[in-house]
Symmetry: C2
Subunit: 208 residues, 2 copies
């Protein structure tokens, strides 16, 4: 165990850190981010508290690193592959389509990481809340950008209020996640996709 | 302080119990229901732990009583006045319209009580989770019933899938609450109402 791990140079250290944070993020969706202490995580991963302190230094640093790791995984599974699609409407549909398996395949036991932590953090100002909200803002920004791109490309009516449409799409995805976690049934995910498909059909440019 | 408060007979005791549970419910939307212990609540209301034990007996009993109190307040503010309206479509619109001030007027500092506790409880089987989910099931049942009533009365197209429509209405309300708690701005509440009004207009029976 190094006193000062030079993380950038050590791929073993990087892998270990990544595995620890994956466990931390899974724990958070069940026990809450407020309960994520170095002591609790040490117990969960079977490491000594001093070993984890060498990685993270404080509870807040650990919480922030866990959010960052969840953000990176979300980008990898949901955002980045979607943004590679060639048109705005395809990128928008891919953001929706990639979210559903991210929820359904139990990446986290408590469903979407950010949908799980934001209701806990929303009334607790501080760096941890800011970090989770920065993720949410970035996510909503991606959806809005794809809507505006689709408007510019003529696949969504330019008369549509992009922020209103964003709200309705996000609403369906959030409820799908919440209901899936409770029921463990795919029905709400199907309902969300159906709602969004219908809404985007309504938002298509009207034939002149 | 009585050892065995005969609650049904003593209106002072009832009022005191109600006031304690109101504080408990407010605390829960900030600190989580897992953190609601008799010790923590005693601190918040300035009572002795033994005094609270006389009321509730255990942490779980306190959590269940808090959920019951939040349910009663929700019925009083949102559900009961809405269900008094004469037609299905009016009852449906009133359920939506009564929810918005319930959120916006800070009945709880963390927004809708049940939207706050369910993401915390969803992965924790037990009586407390069951009680919160029973509330949610009853709430969704009220919305679905008003939709089916409106279909029978000819104000919503009988060809509409009532459960799908329920999903879309609830989705808008849930996201409105979540975004209001974070932003403290009315915009998401307005967007939710706009989404629902538009969706109900689409769901109106088609002119033959």
């Amino acid at each position: 165990m190094a006193d000062k791990p030079a993380r950038k140079r050590r791929s073993d250290g990087e892998r270990s850190r990544e595995a620890i944070l994956r466990t931390a993020a899974q724990l958070v969706t069940v026990e809450g981010i407020g309960g994520l202490s170095i002591g609790r995580l040490a117990e969960a991963v079977g490491m000594s508290k001093s070993g984890l302190f060498a990685h993270f230094g404080s509870k807040e640093e650990l919480q922030l690193a866990t959010i960052e790791a969840a953000n990176a995984l979300y980008d990898e599974q949901v955002v980045d592959p979607a943004l590679a699609a060639p048109t705005g409407i395809e990128r928008l549909n891919a953001l929706v389509d990639n979210y559903m398996p991210h929820v359904e395949e139990h990446v986290y036991p408590g469903g979407c990481f950010f949908a799980s932590v934001i209701p806990e953090l929303d009334t607790h100002p501080g760096a941890v809340r800011d970090s989770a909200l920065a993720f949410m803002s970035s996510w909503l920004g991606h959806i809005e950008k794809t809507i505006r791109d689709a408007q510019a490309e003529g696949t969504i009516d330019p008369a549509e209020d992009a922020e209103q449409l964003l709200f309705e799409i996000e609403a369906a995805m959030m409820l799908a996640n919440a209901m899936f976690v409770v029921s463990q049934e795919a029905t709400p995910l199907v309902r969300a996709r159906r709602a969004i498909t219908r809404r985007l059909a309504d938002a298509a440019p009207k034939a002149a």
